[in-house]
């Protein structure tokens, strides 16, 4: 049985434009499965609904219709079976690196006596032991996102949800973190759902890429690059990499641009 099942999920919301209420459809009957230990990338242009889909899986938003199953349970709101890494890390500015990681653990109900030790292990995992007492404003963008990853991993979720976590980083830092994420995945075999608009990133990380366009699943493209993928240069020069990147690009460009297809209709 698939680990995560997104079953016919739709999301509509009201938009008030010039006094008229419009109904915008962010997701329209989206379905896909994610297998245990798999990395699935949700890719597509901005406005295609990929972040909305991830937020629904996390329980930050509710679907207008459809269901999300994790294991054999339909999700209803938040849960410690899922861990979220936010686009801009979203660390609590008044807490140190260690305290930020402890926050998630404490909310999960880990006993106070074990908090420090457990949090320190995950801070070490992301290579920030030397900076564990710093506050977020004393960290670089890459370091902040490492803390975000540590905070999500620390609660040992079944599924790791990542919302364009490397989108705001410079390309060098992004590559480093991509490789480290692959290394963490290799070791922990976590199921990961990863949102990105970067096609290279999608192909590099994912076992399958779900191409979203205008709130619909355009295509689901398997990436046969094998694992482990330790050498980024070797992966990127692999003919399969270029082939799949082109396939995704074509899938996105066969369809009309997202803006034109975003089904906005006037409601009475």
């Amino acid at each position: 049985m698939p680990h995560v099942q997104i079953q016919n999920v739709s999301k509509t919301f009201g938009l008030k434009v010039n006094g008229q209420v419009l109904t915008a459809r962010a997701l329209d009957g989206v379905s896909f499965d994610v297998e245990q230990g798999e990395i699935v990338a949700l890719a597509g242009p901005s406005g295609c609904g990929k972040t909305t889909a991830l937020r629904i899986i996390m329980g930050l938003e509710s679907a207008s219709s459809g269901a999300v199953m994790v294991g054999d349970r339909a999700i209803a709101g938040c849960g410690h079976d899922r861990g979220m890494v936010f686009q801009h890390a979203e660390l609590l500015p008044w807490k140190s690196v260690l305290e930020n990681v402890k926050f998630g653990l404490a909310m999960k109900g880990v006993p106070k006596s074990e908090l420090d030790g457990m949090a320190a292990r995950y801070v070490e995992l992301v290579g920030l032991s030397d900076a564990k007492d710093r506050r977020p404003h004393q960290l670089s963008g890459g370091m902040k996102q490492r803390v975000g990853i540590a905070r999500a991993l620390a609660i040992d979720p079944e599924v790791l949800l990542m919302d364009e976590p490397f989108g705001a980083l410079d390309s060098q830092t992004r590559e480093t973190l991509q490789m480290e994420l692959l290394a963490i995945h290799e070791r922990t075999r976590k199921t990961i759902i990863f949102v990105t608009h970067d096609l290279d990133e999608a192909v590099l990380l994912a076992d399958r890429v779900v191409v979203l366009n205008a709130g619909r699943v355009q295509e689901i493209i398997p990436i046969d690059l094998g694992r482990p993928r330790r050498d980024i240069r070797a992966v990127q020069t692999n003919p399969e990499f270029m082939r799949k990147r082109t396939m995704i690009w074509e899938a996105l460009h066969v369809a009309a641009p997202a803006e034109d297809r975003l089904s906005i209709r006037r409601s009475a």
Partner: protein, 273 residues
């Protein structure tokens, strides 16, 4: 396998910047210049219409020696501290509740805005009928004028808590109490402190008004008494004391803010007052 980080060490400032005069020194020089110019104008000042520093200092010494000033100061401070403390203790929680719960916001928000924008001094005659002329009515006046800015600032602060930080709470299934203590309260602290700072100014005004309009007493009473007998230098003494008091208390709140919310000044990059 652990991640490695190459940005592990804070880089020291590369070049030493040119020497800059510390802020406190600039403030001190400014004070000396202003007081000096005022003093220098002394010979041309008609003692009926105004006064100058050395004359005011002489009056202050005389009034302190006679016991008039210490008595007035203590009598002013009692309702001031009581009213201000009450406003802080009730205003902050009220603002937090209003900001956090939509129903309370809709039910009571309108009164807070009304209370803030109404000239509450207009109520003084009524308050005197209810609470008499002494300590209680003065405390109530100070409380009323201070409560609303403190409450409104806290309220605005809760509204300004970034939605994304609240979502961190949601994503990690934080219970309401943890969201309040670990996310909302720290995020609102700078707003609370700003409200408390504004509150000091309001409380000082309220104190003097109360002493003018109810039983004439305290520092406000000294001002009225001196003005009525055209002792202008004596009139300036309590005014300057109140001024200095307000500046010191404001600085104290700023100091406390930097202790309880150090990330804020670090984040914004300036110390504030």
């Amino acid at each position: 396998m652990t991640m490695t980080t190459h940005a592990g060490v804070a880089t020291p400032a590369a070049a030493k910047p040119a020497w800059r005069m510390p802020s406190w020194a600039i403030t001190t020089v400014s004070l000396i210049v202003v007081i000096g110019v005022w003093q220098a104008c002394g010979p041309w000042i008609n003692p009926l219409f105004a006064s100058y520093p050395s004359e005011i200092l002489r009056a202050a010494w005389k009034m302190t020696a006679s016991g008039q000033l210490p008595t007035a100061f203590l009598s002013s401070m009692q309702p001031f501290l009581a009213g201000y403390a009450l406003a802080a203790l009730l205003g902050v929680p009220a603002g937090l509740l209003l900001g956090r719960f939509r129903v309370l916001d809709a039910a009571f928000g309108i009164y807070i805005i009304a209370g803030y924008s109404t000239p509450l001094i207009a109520l003084v005659p009524l308050l005197m009928i209810w609470f008499g002329l002494g300590f209680v009515v003065k405390t109530v006046i100070i409380f009323l004028l201070t409560f609303f800015p403190v409450c409104i600032n806290t309220w605005i602060g809760v509204k300004a808590v970034p939605k994304t930080l609240l979502e961190v709470g949601t994503a990690f299934c934080a219970p309401q109490s943890a969201v309040m203590r670990q996310i909302v309260l720290p995020a609102v602290l700078p707003y609370i402190m700003a409200g408390l700072r504004l509150g000091i100014g309001k409380a000082v005004i309220a104190m003097v008004i109360a002493e003018f309009l109810t039983a004439i007493s305290g520092l406000g009473g000294v001002i009225i008494g001196a003005a009525n007998s055209f002792k202008t230098a004596e009139m300036f003494v309590p005014i300057i004391i109140i001024m200095v008091l307000a500046v010191l208390l404001t600085a104290l709140v700023g100091f406390i803010e930097r202790r309880v919310a150090p990330w804020h000044s670090e984040l914004t990059g300036h110390d504030g007052v």
